[in-house]
Symmetry: C2
Subunit: 111 residues, 2 copies
Amino acid sequence: MLEKVLRVNALYDFYQPLLTPKQQEYLNLYYLNDFSLGEIADRNQVTRQAVYDNLKRAESALETFEEKLGLFRKYKTRLTVISKMKSLAGHLDREESKQLDSFINELESLD
Amino acid sequence: MLEKVLRVNALYDFYQPLLTPKQQEYLNLYYLNDFSLGEIADRNQVTRQAVYDNLKRAESALETFEEKLGLFRKYKTRLTVISKMKSLAGHLDREESKQLDSFINELESLD
C-alpha cells in the first residue's frame, strides 16, 4: 500500500493539471491528506462507491499519462545523471565546479 | 505562418500521444506532410470545414497541454543549459571532459 501511495503521489506531481477538478480533489483528500473513502463521500454528499470509482479512474488516468509521456520515468533518470554530475563537480577546480553547480541548479529548477 | 508551423510541430512532438487518432492524423497531414485542407477532406470524405474545425481544435489542445505542463518551454531551457555545459566540457581535462560529455548525452537522450 505504501508503494502505491508513493507512486500515485509522484504521478500526481507530474500530471495533476491534466486531471479534472473532481479527480484532483479526491486524490488530494485521499492520498495527500489521508481522508477515508467515507469521509470524502460525506463531505461531497455522494456514495462511498462513487468516491471509490472516481479514485480508481483518476489513478488509471495518471498511469495512462505516464505510459504516454513518461515524465516520472524521465525525471528519475535525470535525477541519477544529476547526482553523477554533482559528484564530478566535487572533483573539479573551484571555478569550473562553481559553473557546473550552477548549471545543475538550473536543471533541477525545471523538475 | 512559418512560425506557426514550427510551433505546432514542436508542440506535436511533445503532446502527440495525448491527442485523438483523428487529431494526430489531420495535424500530421497538414503540418508535417503539407496536405491542403481540401486534400485531407477528400481523403476522409468529410467537408473542408470539418477538417479546418478539427485542426483548430487540435492546435488549441496542444496549446492547452503546453500551458498545463510546459514541456516545450522546459525543453528549450534545458537546451540552453546543456549548451553551456558542452562549452564547459571543452575546457576540462580529458577524463573529466569525457565524463561530462557522457552525462550530457544521457540528458539529451531523454528529450
